[in-house]
């Protein structure tokens, strides 16, 4: 038996790359989204010689991260990415920040030049751990092959536990070639990182008492409920029904509570519904579960929900009292906290003021009567398609079909119309770039969703500008026969930019026109996909049906009204009760203050 100088059995030793793959397998990785290069060749060589892990070759590293995000968000598992050193790593940074802002668990493996060349400005060298430090939840540089297994196991633990997020492992090439023994995942707790998931009983009792004594309660939920798993969404439904309180959701939380339930007020915030925002403004007790009082949600902070006593459930203590001071803070997993709140609510000795709750609902129903998401779709033959109508028909047709449907989006007006008019009744069906607002997210994210759910219907609701930011991934769809449908609301403008220029910058449309667009039908065909186009309202349903019926990828170019704006809207720097409901109130935006103008 061969032994090395240290007396270790070299036959039981593997290369660093082999240890890496074995660790990934033990962490449950089935798919890696990646792109090869010089520094990661040993990993690609090891991948070639095994069948446990499937590699999806993307066309740009940013897309690899978004694909892993789509995979992670639609499954609740950790998404895995593999890129080379230098430009491979820097291209991945946008995806990493996107995952950081939206709390998506990702492990991203980056190649690195050999340890002896680090710092020498070697070919394709970048200070990846330095660059990604503020772009990740945590990152590692593995300097010895014997640290490989432990580091990979720890990275997966960090990525998925507590508030999930992206983790980078930087892998110098000599470490991938060096030999070491494999070490299975440890059962001992992490030395320093031990996030708390169990709620404090006293805080739960105080929160339950506030809720039970409330006359005008609101439950406001976010992505934390989705991240806490399907059981948390189920518990939320029971809590909302037990309290009889209205429920609203952030962009990230859509689907945790069924959109078609009468207790659901729709999305809140800048483009949220009138009833959700006014309920937030007028409530006396607010329960925030897994949301972070983001500026898109609160509007002007000093006018945010002025009369309410606030309860905040978040797994990340740094989210509490960051933007909005709260009376009861519960640092816990959303699912555990909801179950505990439900039990404490039932146990609380107070009698709920049903009459006050009924009056509150009457007030809310009055706001609902504004029908704030209404739009008028002309029905004459040849009439131009309203983008809202396109989303509404897409929703209705897919709903009636009964197929499991996942929606991804790019960023902009189409994203808001999708959030407003596509009604989600289950969690993990909606993937959108919320925090970072990354144009180009939807197509690669859809790819990742389709890999995880090969038989599901996956649709990227896109804009003609956003889709061009990662259009190269059409080639990946073709290679792996991924039948993702790209549903472009084509208004020939960066619509949200155009909308702000119209409302806030005197209609000076500086650089927001999408000039020299490709012919999306021919573009689809050149990528071996099907191209469809709807010019007018009478063509819309046929195009949607043909898109869904196609067994491969499709680009459906939906030519929509160029001047449509997203309403309702809380202009920047305004309060919840200062919403613009529709075009008839657009003049109100002109009164925006200088403080409002500096906000994004």
């Amino acid at each position: 038996m061969a032994t090395d100088a240290g007396g270790t059995n070299t036959e039981t030793q593997l290369s660093g790359a082999e240890v890496l793959l074995r660790a990934l397998k033990d962490q449950g990785v089935e798919v890696i989204f990646g792109y090869p290069g010089g520094a990661v060749l040993p990993i690609y060589d090891a991948l070639y010689q095994q069948n446990a892990i499937r590699h999806i070759l993307v066309r740009h590293e940013q897309a690899a991260v978004h694909a892993a995000e789509g995979y992670a968000r639609s499954t609740g598992r950790v998404g895995c990415v593999l890129v080379t050193s230098g430009p491979g790593a820097t291209n991945a940074v946008t995806g990493l920040v996107d995952a950081l802002m939206d709390s998506i668990p990702i492990v991203c493996l980056t190649g690195q030049v050999p340890t002896h060349l680090i710092g020498n400005d070697a070919f394709q060298e970048a200070d990846t751990t330095g660059i990604t430090r503020p772009a990740t939840k945590h990152n590692y540089l593995v300097k010895r092959a014997e640290d490989m297994a432990r580091t990979v196991h720890e990275a997966f633990y960090v990525a998925r536990s507590g508030r999930p997020g992206p983790v980078v492992i930087d892998l110098p090439k000599d470490v991938l070639i060096g030999r070491a023994a494999y070490v299975p995942p440890a059962t001992t707790p992490h030395r320093s990182y031990r996030p708390n998931t169990t709620p404090d009983a006293t805080a739960i009792a105080r929160a339950a008492a506030l809720l039970k004594g409330a006359k005008r309660p609101v439950i406001y939920t976010g992505g934390g409920v989705i991240n806490a798993g399907a059981a948390a969404s189920d518990a939320l439904r029971r809590l909302v029904r037990a309290t009889g309180a209205p429920c609203t959701s952030t962009l990230m939380g859509l689907g945790a509570y069924p959109a078609n339930d009468p207790l659901f007020l729709g999305m809140l915030g800048m483009h949220g519904t009138y009833e959700a925002n006014l309920a937030m403004h007028a409530c006396d007790v607010m329960l925030n579960i897994g949301a972070r009082f983001d500026d898109r949600v609160t509007g002007r902070l000093n006018a945010f929900s002025p009369q309410s006593r606030k309860i905040h459930v978040d797994i990340d203590p740094s989210s509490i009292n960051k933007n909005v001071p709260v009376e009861v803070a519960i640092v816990a997993d959303a699912g555990e906290a909801i179950e505990a709140l439900l039990a404490a609510f039932e146990a609380d000795p107070q009698t709920q003021d049903r009459a006050a709750l009924a009056a509150w609902w009457q007030q809310i129903d009055g706001w609902r009567g504004k029908d704030c998401l209404r739009f008028t779709q002309p029905t004459a033959r040849g009439a131009v398609i309203k983008p809202q109508y396109a989303v509404q028909r897409l929703y209705e047709i897919t709903r009636d079909l009964g197929r499991e449907t996942f929606i991804t989006t790019e960023v902009g007006q189409h994203q808001m119309w999708a959030a407003q008019h596509f009604r989600f009744d289950a969690p993990n069906r909606w993937m959108t770039s919320g925090g970072l607002g990354t144009m180009g997210y939807g197509l690669p994210a859809g790819m990742g969703v389709q890999i995880a759910h090969p038989d599901a219907l996956v649709i990227d609701i896109a804009g003609e500008a956003s889709i061009l930011m990662n259009i190269q991934e059409m080639s990946t769809l073709a290679q792996y026969r991924l039948p993702v449908k790209v549903f472009i609301l084509n208004n020939e403008y960066m619509g949200m930019v155009r909308q702000w220029q119209e409302l806030l910058h005197g209609g000076r449309y500086s650089e927001s026109y999408s000039a020299a667009l490709p012919d999306f039908v021919k573009l689809a065909e050149s990528f071996h996909a099907k191209g469809l186009r709807a010019h007018s309202v009478d063509e819309l349903d046929d195009v949607i049906r043909a898109m869904i019926a196609a067994d491969g990828p499709v680009i459906a170019d939906i030519v929509v009204d160029q001047k449509e704006n997203v309403f309702p809207m809380i202009p920047s720097g305004a309060a919840h009760n200062e919403m613009i409901l529709g075009p008839e109130h657009e003049a109100e935006a002109a009164g925006i203050t200088d403080e409002g103008l500096v906000l994004v």
Binding site: T129, R133, K137, H138, L141, S192, N321
Partner: protein, 172 residues
């Protein structure tokens, strides 16, 4: 009922026990610069050799809300073991060391030496034209000494920043 944030600015001496690993200081500093927090002083050194831990002492200032944020943000860094707000926890000792070079002659030289004695500073280097004083104490005492040396020919200052811990039996 509305809870509001106190807008009073206070100073906070925060001690952080961290895993002694590559990049941990960069993480802490990056957090302060990335989120726009102040660093008035920062010290770092290994403190538990056998267990591979370092202690970082940070003196910062901000509203109560900002300081709570700083502590929460520090605490969620993966290699951070413990975060202690010494200012908030109660009585604590905070000391720093300064090397102060004074170049002077004649009466000023005598006065510098006399003041250094009053401040219990030690002379660690002397030439015909200069002194280097070593002084240890609370930040305001070091500040006061330096101010006194200014008219006497203050030439250079090197300070360590604050090392701090709670008084009594309490540990981090």
């Amino acid at each position: 009922m509305t809870t509001t944030f106190d807008t009073t600015i206070r100073s906070a001496t925060i001690s952080v026990l961290v895993e002694n690993e590559a990049g941990v200081l960069a993480r802490v500093i990056g957090l302060f610069s990335g989120r726009g927090y102040n660093i008035d002083s920062l010290t770092v050194a290994p403190v538990e050799d056998g267990r591979g831990r370092s202690r970082i002492n940070i003196v910062t200032s901000g509203t109560e809300m900002v300081i709570e944020q700083i502590k929460a943000q520090l605490d969620r860094l993966v290699p951070v073991h413990r975060v202690a707000d010494l200012t908030q926890q109660g009585p604590h000792v905070a000391r720093e060391m300064a090397l102060v070079k004074v170049i002077c002659a004649g009466d000023k030289r005598a006065e510098a030496l006399r003041l250094s004695d009053a401040f219990r500073a030690r002379v660690v280097d002397a030439t015909i034209e200069s002194f280097v004083f070593e002084m240890t104490g609370a930040t305001d005492k070091v500040d006061a000494f330096i101010e006194l040396m200014r008219p006497l020919g203050l030439a250079e200052v090197s300070r360590t920043g604050v090392a701090a811990m709670a008084r009594g039996t309490r540990t981090i």
